[in-house]
C-alpha cells in the first residue's frame, strides 16, 4: 500500500536516488462478502521508487506489485489468490534539520492508489472481488543518521489518509460498480508506518532492511479490511 517511499538516504552527493525494494508481505484480509473469517498468507513482490531532494522539498514516486495466496484459518483448503498494486507520489517539506544529530524531519502530502484483486477460486460463481482506493494522506517522516561519517540511517515514516475515493464490486456480484464513493476517516480508514535502517556500502550504494505495517478498512456495505506486515530489503542507488 502506501508509505513506501524513501527510507534510506545516502550520506551525501547526488540528490536523486533510485530504490529497489524486494519484499515479503504477510497479509490478513477480511472480505465480508465471502467470510468474516480472516484469510492470511504471504505476498512476495517488488517495489521501485525514485526520489529527489530540491531545496527543502523531498519529491518521491513509487510503484509496487505483488501476488500471493491466502487461506482461511478454518478452511485451509480454500485458496485465495490476491494481487496488490500500489502507486504513490508524495511531496514533503523539510521542517527541521539538526546537523549535530544528523536528523531530518519532513512532513507533507501523499497521493496513493491501491488496487487489490482477490479470487476465491474454490468458491462458485461471483468468486472474485477487488477494491481500488485512491487517497490523499498526511505524511510525517523522521530520519536520523549515526556513526562517524553518518553511514547508518534510521528512518520512520507514518501516514494517515484523510480523504479517499474507492470502488468495489456491486453489493451482490463481482461486477464493478459504476460509480466511485468518497470517504474520509471513519468510512475509509487507511494508515501505515514504516521503519527502516540503511547503511552506506559505497559512495553510490546503500543497503538496508525495512519493516512496514499497513492497514486499510472500507466501512462500506461490502466491508473489507486488510492488515499487512512486510519485510523488505532496501537497495538504494545514487544516480
Amino acid at each position: 500500500m502506501a508509505a513506501n517511499n524513501l527510507f534510506c538516504q545516502p550520506p551525501g552527493g547526488s540528490n536523486t536516488q533510485f530504490h529497489v525494494r524486494p519484499y515479503l508481505l504477510f497479509d490478513k484480509t477480511i472480505d465480508k462478502h465471502f467470510s468474516s473469517v480472516p484469510a492470511t498468507g504471504f505476498i512476495p513482490g517488488l517495489q521501485l521508487a525514485a526520489s529527489q531532494e530540491r531545496n527543502n522539498l523531498l519529491l518521491e514516486v513509487s510503484m509496487r506489485y505483488g501476488k500471493g495466496t491466502l487461506s482461511f484459518s478454518e478452511k485451509k483448503q480454500l485458496r485465495i489468490s490476491k494481487s496488490l498494486l500500489t502507486a504513490t507520489a508524495s511531496i514533503l517539506y523539510k521542517l527541521n534539520r539538526r546537523e549535530e544529530t544528523g536528523s531530518d524531519l519532513h512532513a507533507g502530502l501523499m497521493i496513493d492508489f491501491v488496487r487489490a484483486d482477490k479470487e476465491y477460486s474454490d468458491l462458485i460463481n461471483f468468486n472474485t472481488s477487488f477494491e481500488t482506493i485512491a487517497s490523499t494522506s498526511l505524511v510525517g517522516d523522521y530520519m536520523i543518521k549515526i556513526g562517524s561519517n553518518r553511514p547508518v540511517s534510521f528512518r520512520n515514516r507514518a501516514f494517515i489518509a484523510i480523504l479517499s475515493m474507492y470502488r468495489q464490486p456491486v453489493f451482490g456480484s463481482s461486477v464493478a460498480s459504476d460509480s466511485w464513493s468518497v470517504g474520509s476517516i471513519g468510512e475509509v480508514n487507511k494508515w501505515g508506518d514504516r521503519f527502516s535502517v540503511c547503511k552506506a556500502i559505497t559512495e553510490r550504494l546503500n543497503l538496508g532492511l525495512g519493516y512496514t505495517w499497513e492497514y486499510y478498512r472500507l466501512n462500506s456495505e461490502r466491508e473489507t479490511i486488510s492488515s499487512m506486515h512486510s519485510l523488505s530489503i532496501e537497495i538504494l542507488f545514487k544516480l
Partner: protein, 338 residues
C-alpha cells in the same frame, strides 16, 4: 524545541512510537464473529438477511423465521443440534440452491423434486429407445429413429467442445424433428447452456434478465440486466420437443426457459425444478460453508423463473409404464413430431 543530544534517544522514541502504532491493530480491526451456537445462528441469519435475493419472490418474512428459530438456540446445544436448527431454518426458503455444509453433515433442500414423480428412467431409455445405434459426443447421447432425432443432455456441468456439438448437429440436421431430453439434468455452467441454445436460434434473441443485489435490503437490486444470445452459423430450425421433469434444475431450468420462447419448441413433461438464480458461497466463522441464491433471474418476458418452467403439455410416467419399460413422454413426442 528542546534539543535532543543523543541520537539513540531519538531512535528509541521512534521505535516506541512505531510499535505503539502497530500494536493498535487488534483494536482497529473488526474481530470475526465468535463461534458459539448463538453467534453462529446470528451470523447465518444476518448474512442471509442481507444477501439472499429471493425473499420477495418467495414472499418470505425472514424476520418471522428468525423469531421462530432463534428461541431454540442456546450456547449449551451441541454443534449437531445447532446444525439441525440452521438447516430447518434454511429449509423454510424451499430453495434447491441453498446448502449448508459442515464437516459432519450437509443440508440441501431437495423437496423441489422429491415430492414429485421422477418421470425419468434412464435404463428404460437406454434399453428401449437408444439401443445399440446411439452415439455419444461429450455429454450428449443421441440417436435417429424414423427421421426423428433424440438427444439426451444429461448435464451442463462438464464442458464440451464445439466439435462435440457440431458432430451431434451435423447428424441431426437431416431429421424432421428433434426430441431434446433434459430430464434429471441438475444444471451446471451457463456457458454450456448458452452454446446449446444457440444451435436453435435464427436471430439475436433476448433470453433472460438478471437482477443483482445493489445493497442489503430485501428489494435492493440494480436495474434488470438483459442477456441476449447470438445464433450460430447453421441453426436447427425444425420442430423441437423438450422433455422436462422436476429434477431439471438451475442451469437446466434456464435452458428450458430460454427454449420456451422459441416458436419451434414445445415443452413436454412436468414442471422444471426451478433454481432460477446464481448461487454463491459464504464461509461462516465456525468453518461451515453456506450456499445461497444471490440473484433473481427473469424470463424474457420478465417473470421470475425460480419456481420452474411450466410445460406446454403436462405428462407423467405411470408406475405401470415404467415397469413395462415405456417412456410415455418420448412416445408422445414421437407422435407429435410425426
Amino acid at each position: 524545541m528542546r534539543r535532543i543530544r543523543k541520537p539513540y534517544t531519538v531512535i528509541s522514541i521512534c521505535l516506541l512510537l512505531f510499535f505503539a502504532a502497530t500494536s493498535c491493530k487488534k483494536t482497529l480491526q473488526t474481530s470475526p464473529p465468535g463461534t458459539s451456537a448463538v453467534e453462529t445462528f446470528e451470523e447465518l441469519w444476518t448474512f442471509m438477511d442481507r444477501h439472499y435475493a429471493l425473499f420477495d419472490v418467495k414472499q418470505i418474512e425472514w424476520k418471522m423465521i428468525y423469531d421462530k428459530y432463534r428461541s431454540t438456540v442456546t450456547n449449551a446445544m451441541t454443534e449437531a443440534a445447532l446444525f439441525e436448527v440452521c438447516a430447518d431454518m434454511l429449509e423454510e426458503l424451499k430453495d434447491g440452491h441453498v446448502t449448508l455444509i459442515s464437516p459432519f453433515k450437509t443440508f440441501t433442500y431437495e423437496n423441489f423434486y422429491r415430492l414429485f414423480p421422477t418421470n425419468f428412467n434412464y435404463p428404460n431409455i437406454s434399453a428401449n429407445y437408444l439401443g445399440s445405434s446411439s452415439k455419444v459426443s461429450g455429454p450428449f447421447i443421441y440417436t435417429i429413429k424414423q427421421g426423428i432425432g433424440y438427444l439426451y443432455c444429461k448435464s451442463f456441468r462438464d464442458d464440451y467442445t464445439n466439435e462435440d456439438l457440431e458432430k451431434v448437429f451435423n447428424e441431426l440436421q437431416s431429421t424432421t424433428g428433434l426430441i431434446l431430453d433434459i430430464r434429471s439434468n441438475t444444471g451446471g455452467k451457463a456457458g454450456n447452456v448458452n452454446r446449446l441454445v444457440q444451435k436453435f436460434l435464427d436471430k439475436k434473441t433476448l433470453v433472460k434478465y438478471e437482477l443483482v443485489k445493489s445493497g442489503p435490503g430485501h428489494n435492493q437490486f440494480l436495474l434488470p440486466n438483459a442477456y441476449y444470445l447470438e445464433p450460430t452459423a447453421i441453426p436447427y430450425s425444425n420442430p423441437v420437443i423438450v422433455l422436462t421433469n422436476r429434477t431439471c434444475f438451475s442451469a437446466c431450468n434456464d435452458f428450458a426457459s430460454y427454449m420456451n420462447y422459441l416458436p419451434q419448441v414445445t415443452i413436454l413433461g412436468d414442471q422444471t425444478g426451478g433454481g432460477g438464480s446464481i448461487p454463491n458461497n459464504y464461509i461462516l466463522a465456525n468453518g461451515w460453508t453456506l450456499q445461497y441464491s444471490s440473484t433473481i433471474t427473469l424470463s424474457a418476458d420478465k417473470i421470475p423463473i425460480d419456481a420452474g418452467i411450466t410445460p406446454d403439455i403436462y405428462l407423467n410416467i405411470s408406475p405401470i409404464d415404467e415397469t413395462n419399460g415405456i417412456d410415455p413422454l418420448i412416445e408422445k413426442a414421437f407422435l407429435l413430431l410425426k
